[in-house]
């Protein structure tokens, strides 16, 4: 069918475009790390020269920067991120595997929460435009966007964990209780933004001519909303999911620190401070690939929602 091949061509085109992005990501991160003054072994006790030379050779730090770069690219191509410099017994792949499970769980849960709650609140506010419910919801949403997560988190911990004792103040043991606060705090600003976005978009759509046409056809209002208004209203939200994920990943660094969660964000910050090149690179690439793939996915979902886009590329 015409529709299917246009979607397929669209996907292929987009996939090809990802490669330069990936390359740039790796290159920038690589050279940035190397430019940092200080090497991975500086903070330890003074090592005798030969041991230090051995270590440098083991991690190929004695080669020229360009050589190291190409060696690294070839390793990454086979998904080998090398050994961690700081955590001597672990490979980066293993560390990422561990941290990933935690971070992805939190991230996914937060994203789903943000999308569901955000769009729901936004639609309610839009349908009750300029009433008290609308002002209240949007005022709270603005607060959600404005309060940094490192302000909300301690306050929530204080109220719900320390004073009330309902939830743990930190740590991670895969129990629902330990998940609640991190997931909620992580999703808060995104939920708030999605709520505002949905409301604005919904209001605009409800004023379009084709909604007027739908009403003129005698369709009940809930059918008009569900069948005619919802899809176009959600388009900007779907577009936003890409940057929203990037934002959440940035936010997770803080959340993991506050709640003492052994996720990738913590590994990253530690690695950066300790000049653990391989670990830092591994995390950056992992997250970068994740974001790129997610943006790709979002693009596809958007094209499915908005048929006009599918034809632009191929015409």
């Amino acid at each position: 069918m015409i529709q299917d091949s246009s979607m397929a061509r669209h996907m292929l085109w987009r996939l090809l475009g990802l490669i330069p992005t990936l390359l740039m990501l790796i290159t920038v991160a690589f050279f940035l790390m190397r430019v940092a003054p200080g090497g991975p072994f500086d903070s330890e006790m003074l090592l005798p020269a030969e041991i230090e030379a051995n270590l440098n050779a083991k991690y190929h730090l004695d080669e020229s920067l360009l050589q190291q770069y190409f060696r690294y690219i070839s390793q990454v191509a086979v998904l080998d991120f090398g050994p961690s410099i700081q955590y001597k017994d672990w490979t980066v792949n293993e560390l990422i595997g561990q941290g990933m499970r935690v971070s992805l769980t939190i991230g996914l849960a937060a994203m789903v929460l943000a999308f569901v709650v955000g769009t729901l609140l936004g639609i309610i506010a839009a349908l009750r435009q300029n009433t008290r419910a609308d002002y209240l919801l949007m005022g709270v949403a603005m607060l959600g966007i404005s309060i940094p997560n490192f302000v909300i988190a301690p306050i929530l911990i204080l109220l719900l964990a320390v004073y009330a004792g309902w939830l743990p103040a930190g740590g991670w043991d895969w129990s629902i209780a330990s998940m609640v606060l991190p997931v909620v705090t992580l999703s808060l600003p995104v939920t708030a933004y999605i709520a505002r976005l949905t409301r604005g978009s919904m209001i605009e759509v409800m004023h379009s001519n084709f909604i007027r046409s739908a009403r003129a056809k005698g369709l009940p209002e809930r059918v008009v909303i569900r069948r005619h208004a919802l899809r176009p209203a959600l388009l900007p939200v779907i577009s936003f999911l890409g940057p929203a994920t990037a934002g959440m990943i940035s936010g997770s660094v803080i959340i993991e620190r506050i709640f003492s969660i052994p996720g990738l964000g913590s590994y990253f910050v530690q690695g950066a401070l300790n000049r653990d090149y391989t670990l830092v690179m591994g995390v950056v690439i992992f997250y970068g690939v994740l974001i790129i793939l997610l943006n790709f996915l979002v693009d596809m979902v958007y094209a499915w929602f908005n048929p006009k886009v599918r034809y632009d590329e191929t015409s």
């Binding site: 001519n209 046409s213 739908a214 009403r215 056809k217 369709l219 009940p220 059918v223 005619h228 048929p307």
Partner: protein, 320 residues
């Protein structure tokens, strides 16, 4: 009983600059099988009066008066009550098919919902009827077209789809708002013929909103001329075109180029501008531009009723 009887319709809008009076004390009626044209410039209130009747006014709009459809007042109905009539007994064809069709839905979904909602047909039956209707409006290969999105069609086809959608519910009253405005001439003719055919096959009444006097002459029986939200003249097509009584109507007809005039003849424009709807003048609203205005025109002129139901709002007697 008249199919639709509009009495003393007033429509206004609240804006930051004040209240815009779009329609003032409009009265008309239409019987089954009639074709009535609402004629006037942009801003004369033709579209808004119809929007008010169908309950489609913008949020800052308000209306008063009566719009009796088969005896029941549409203006007093809630949306759910109105929904029983909209789309089935009263159908509307909008002016701009680009924005009036939902760009995110395929045509079959948009077309079949009227039948599914009002006639209780299954989706398959509704789709079959819709395809038939597309064929009837001369759209080629309708079974394929109906699976497409609006932006994949040409402008003329989109308008024909809108006409088809309006006719699907088998309405007793069809309201067409400038259905030919965005089209090139050949398609205009087609659409006009479609509407004439409708008159003949069903006994539907048609309200045609247009500023194109040529189209109006083609299919309408009666004409209502509007100016600044008011009806200024109403009569049969022959009466209006051959014996216009109101100076505005006369001015309108004089400004239309005609085939039987010499090529280099200058068109007479009506001097001046339409009045500001925020601040309407007292008395006759046309007086500032009227070549025949005199002292009495500062008072509101009465609607004079001639023999043969030819009405016009002016102080002057026979102004021909």
């Amino acid at each position: 009983m008249a199919l639709l009887e509009v009495k003393d319709l007033d429509v206004g809008f609240d804006t930051p600059e004040g209240e815009v009076h779009a329609v003032n004390q409009l009265n008309f009626s239409i019987e089954a099988g009639d074709t009535l044209a609402l004629v006037g410039e942009s801003g004369s209130g033709k579209t808004q009066s119809v929007m008010a009747i169908l309950g489609l006014l913008a949020e800052n709009g308000h209306m008063s008066g009566q719009a009796l459809f088969k005896g029941k007042d549409l203006l007093q109905m809630s949306s759910s009550e109105l929904n029983r009539h909209r789309g089935s007994e009263i159908a509307m064809i909008f002016q701009d098919p680009v924005t009036s069709l939902n760009p995110y839905l395929r045509l079959d979904k948009q077309m079949t919902e009227v039948l599914v909602q009002h006639r209780g047909l299954s989706k398959a039956d509704a789709r079959a009827k819709a395809v038939e209707m597309l064929r009837a409006v001369h759209i080629p290969d309708p079974a394929r077209i109906i699976r497409q999105y609006p932006h994949e069609l040409s402008g003329g086809m989109r308008q024909k789809v809108m006409v088809a959608m309006g006719l699907l519910g088998e309405p007793e009253l069809l309201i067409a708002d400038e259905p030919t405005a965005a089209l090139d001439v050949t398609v205009q003719v087609e659409v006009t013929h479609l509407m004439s055919a409708l008159r003949e096959t069903t006994n539907a009444a048609i309200i045609l909103i247009s500023h194109d006097l040529g189209i109006v002459a083609g299919i309408c029986d009666r004409v209502l001329v509007m100016y600044a939200g008011e009806a200024v003249e109403c009569g049969s097509v022959d009466q209006i075109y051959y014996d216009p009584k109101h100076p505005y109507t006369q001015g309108l007809l004089n400004s239309v180029p005609r085939l039987d005039q010499p090529d280099d003849m200058e068109l007479e424009a009506i001097p001046g501008n339409p009045p500001n709807l925020l601040n309407l003048p007292v008395g006759c609203k046309f007086r500032d531009r009227c070549p025949k205005a005199f002292d009495a025109c500062t008072e509101k002129p009465p609607m004079q009723l001639d023999e043969d139901r030819h009405a016009y709002r002016c102080f002057l007697g026979d102004t021909a």
